[in-house]
């Protein structure tokens, strides 16, 4: 079928899913044989339920590793009991995959899924604005695109470190943060903070400083001229515009 641009109809799937045959490929044989204990690793079903491809092993819901209930206990049983590193047995040509209990509910009850929900909100770090590392553009390139796209060099100066103005994590900028006494510097994305409060909270978390100890640290920064200043002495906007790097020092007295 000649395919032309703009036609709405996609061609049929390359592999009709209903007749998908596990036996025809997947010849990859693992060197260390995986446990093929049928009870622990019953079969994966692809497509409609009646196309049970591997007839050898059958769906056994009682050993489902994703049954509902307390998380830690369930998980332990399936992982520790499954002898999946059984060196004596070879993996047969038909792949033994893992049980999928077809009821979507089981997936919902799966504690790891619940936690995944939480962790996916963790993707949206930076106070819910934007994804870290997406789109996958190198930091280099992010910094270049500060310029105004109208074909000319409106300003010949180097792109300044500026706080984001609207957009999703637009113009995100990372600055180095050092803590007194800690050899390794970290980096923090400034564009997602809008106040000293928020910034300090993140820094406390990053360096593992408890609330109680918070008072014993002061946030300082180095500006473009190289001077060291106390962060809280200047308004937020001034701070953001002129800072080059941050340092947490222990306050005396």
């Amino acid at each position: 079928m000649e395919l032309q641009l703009g036609l709405a109809l996609p061609p049929p799937p390359l592999i009709p899913i209903e007749t998908f045959d596990l036996n025809s490929y997947g010849n990859y044989e693992t060197r260390e044989a995986l446990g093929t204990n049928a009870l622990s690793w019953p079969l994966l079903k692809l497509g409609p339920a009646d196309n049970d491809i591997n007839n050898i092993h059958h769906h056994n819901s009682s050993s489902s590793s994703s049954s509902s209930g307390g998380g830690a206990g369930c998980k332990k049983r399936s992982f520790d009991e499954a002898p999946f590193f059984d060196e004596k047995r070879n993996v047969p040509k038909t792949l033994h995959l893992l049980l999928w209990t077809n009821q979507p509910n089981d997936e919902d009850d799966d504690p790891s899924n619940v936690l995944h929900e939480n962790s996916s909100s963790a993707i949206f770090k930076n106070d819910g604005e934007g994804l870290v590392g997406w789109p996958p553009v190198k930091t280099w390139r992010k910094k270049v695109h500060h310029q105004i796209p109208n074909g000319g060099a409106e300003n010949n100066r180097l792109p300044a470190v500026e706080n984001g103005i609207g957009g999703r994590a637009s113009k995100s900028t990372y600055v180095k943060v050092k803590m007194e006494g800690v050899p390794i510097a970290r980096k923090i994305d400034l564009s997602v903070h809008h106040s000293f409060e928020g910034l300090t909270n993140t820094l406390m978390r990053m360096f593992g400083i408890s609330d109680g100890n918070r008072k014993s640290f002061k946030l300082t920064y180095q500006d473009r001229e190289g001077d060291r200043l106390l962060a809280e002495d200047v308004p937020w906007r001034t701070f953001i515009r002129s800072l080059k790097c941050l340092k947490l020092i222990r306050s005396r007295g």
Partner: protein, 585 residues
């Protein structure tokens, strides 16, 4: 049998024969033939490539290959480019330099990628290797111009100094003046990443002027347009040139000077740089355009009409890097003018904007795939895609070896049918039988991984984000992709099952990265305990993984094979799983 061989082929003869064998794979094969060949081969291996600096220890390398002259090391995982690997994770080169300083006094070449290099390391290099010739620091960090000054000052036979895309603490431009007046050996100098406004321009000019073999010179943004002509006139033999700023008020004498300087460079084939471009100065390049094979305009914020004009002068272009300002119209022009095109990379001008700011769609890529028969490598950022377009591209260009598509909004479906893009990417892997590298994006279900597992037999590197429905997806890839070396995954619902069921596969790969997925801490521990030849690293900056139940998913997971065992230079937020090691921290 071995004795007979020894009499018929003395070692020296074998060594001579082996010296013609350059590829690592072939050399490895040679060393497997028999013990004596292994022995001879290892003494005459001069080049070593280590794809993961933690896969082996410096001592092991030195023990096996005592006479190495050239080493290439890679450190951090690829996703470090996108800030997914926290600072301080690792990848330090100093231990390697320290060991090699003693063992390889005749070392000539060091090439590093994504490693942490300190001034101390650079100073040690400068001091230790009397015949040092080549230093390439690709996407490295941790050093300053002080370290570069040490290299410049001490390395009398330096041929290559290439700092591409590295992060350098640019303390002053005067480091260039540390190249002694006697240094005339430079062949390649790439300082494009240096950000300071000052570069000792007179030192640069003199250096360029006294190195008659200089073939590749990439300047940084500090070098203004009016200075380019001076540099070019001192180095008309250049093959590869990276401009600095390409912007200035249009002045006829500056223009003609520049045009004249370019035209005197008869060997120039490759151009890059072009920060801040004033389109009026582009015609200064026209005299060399017919010879150009490589053009990197990915920092040039010029619009499609100017790009089209430039590109239409370059019929021999093989490699083009450009911003999406080129638009579909520009790519159509490219497709009709540049029949030799092999590689195209289109970068987003406004990656974080919510709305498209340019008219660049899947049409542009389809046009290039139709018009450029030699196209092999694609990196394309866009905002919409269709299965139909992907199928067309696949059918037009079965010779693709690298296909990286980034649809900017995660989980974007086929814009025509609103279906997932499984079929489209499936067509890519099915038709492009030599595909070695693939990056996915858009709305994708487990089906796309079925296709990849079925057809992606030559696939070596796969990047996945916001895709798949279940562990089945990951299982298809791990069980089907026979040549897979690097797999990097973020934000996919892949959990323990596929990983544990394919644990042995991981030993055949260089590395696996998974972040924001659903792999539990318990599974990581188990994997670490059962697979001693893997380092299973759990990365979590917020809290230790064992402060939560074992069924909780880990934030980031990096698994790589290693014969060196667990490493000991980890920061507090990285834990190595393992039996012997407990939870190493």
């Amino acid at each position: 049998m071995q004795k007979k061989m020894a009499y018929s082929f003395p070692d020296e003869v074998l060594e001579q024969v082996f010296s013609f064998i350059q590829s690592d794979k072939d050399r490895n094969a040679v060393s497997l033939v028999c013990k004596s060949w292994d022995e001879i081969e290892r003494w005459c291996r001069r080049k070593v490539f280590i794809g993961n600096c933690y896969a082996v220890s410096p001592r092991m390398v030195i023990r096996r290959f005592p006479e190495v002259r050239s080493i290439k090391l890679k450190g951090k995982p690829h996703f470090a480019d996108f800030n997914l690997v926290p600072d301080g994770w690792g990848g330090y080169v100093l231990p390697w330099i320290a060991e090699m300083a003693g063992a390889y006094p005749w070392l000539e070449e060091i090439r590093l990628k994504r490693m942490v290099v300190t001034d101390e390391s650079l100073e040690l290099i400068a001091k230790s290797f009397k015949n040092f010739k080549v230093l390439v620091l690709f996407s490295c960090e941790g050093f300053s111009t002080d370290g570069l000054a040490a290299i410049a000052a001490s390395c009398k036979n330096l041929r290559e100094l290439d700092l591409r895309e590295s992060e350098v603490d640019d303390l002053s431009g005067h480091w260039l003046a540390h190249f002694p007046e006697t240094c005339t050996s430079l062949v390649s100098l790439n300082i494009s990443c240096l950000r300071s406004d000052e570069v000792s321009f007179s030192a640069l000019e003199r250096l360029v002027g006294r190195c008659p073999n200089l073939r590749s010179l990439r300047l940084n943004r500090a070098v203004t347009l009016d200075k380019i002509a001076n540099i070019l006139r001192r180095a008309p033999q250049l093959v590869d040139f990276g401009t600095g700023y390409y912007a200035a008020e249009l002045q006829p004498d500056v223009f003609s000077n520049l045009a004249g300087a370019f035209s005197s460079c008869k060997e120039l084939k490759s151009l890059s740089g072009f920060w801040d471009v004033v389109p009026a100065y582009l015609p200064a390049l026209y005299s060399i355009c017919p010879r150009l094979t490589s053009l990197n305009l990915s920092y040039a914020t010029i619009q499609s009409p100017d790009l089209i004009k430039l590109v239409s002068h370059c019929p021999r272009l093989q490699r083009l890097l450009v911003l999406d300002y080129v638009e579909d119209s520009g790519l159509e022009e490219l497709a009709s003018s540049c029949k030799d095109l092999q590689e195209l990379r289109v970068f987003p001008s406004d990656p974080f904007g919510a709305e498209p700011n340019v008219s660049l769609t899947e049409q542009g890529l389809v046009a290039v795939s139709l018009g450029c028969p030699k196209l092999r490598s694609v990196l394309y950022f866009c905002r919409r895609m269709s299965n139909a377009a992907l199928v067309t591209i696949a059918q037009n260009r079965p010779n693709l070896t690298r296909f990286r598509l980034c649809i900017i909004e995660p989980k974007t479906p086929d814009y025509l049918t609103l279906e997932p893009l499984d079929v489209g990417f499936g067509a890519i892997v099915e038709h492009c039988k030599d595909l070695r590298r693939l990056s996915l994006s858009g709305l994708l279900t487990d089906h796309v991984f079925e296709y990849i597992g079925t057809y992606g037999k030559k696939l070596e590197m796969l990047s996945v984000a916001f895709a798949g429905d279940s562990d089945l997806g990951l299982h298809h890839v791990l069980s089907g992709c026979e040549s897979l070396r690097k797999l990097e995954i973020r934000d996919c619902p892949f959990g323990d099952k596929a990983l544990l069921a394919n644990a042995a596969k991981l030993e055949t790969m260089r590395s696996l990265w998974m972040s924001s997925c659903a792999v539990s801490f318990g599974a990581c521990k188990l994997l670490g305990q059962k697979m001693p030849k893997l380092n299973v690293e759990v990365i979590d900056e917020t809290e230790p993984p064992d402060s939560r139940p074992e069924s909780c998913p880990v934030d980031k997971l990096y698994i790589y094979r290693s014969v060196a065992g667990p490493r000991f230079d980890m920061p507090p937020f990285v834990w190595t799983m393992g039996e012997a090691v407990r939870i190493l921290h």
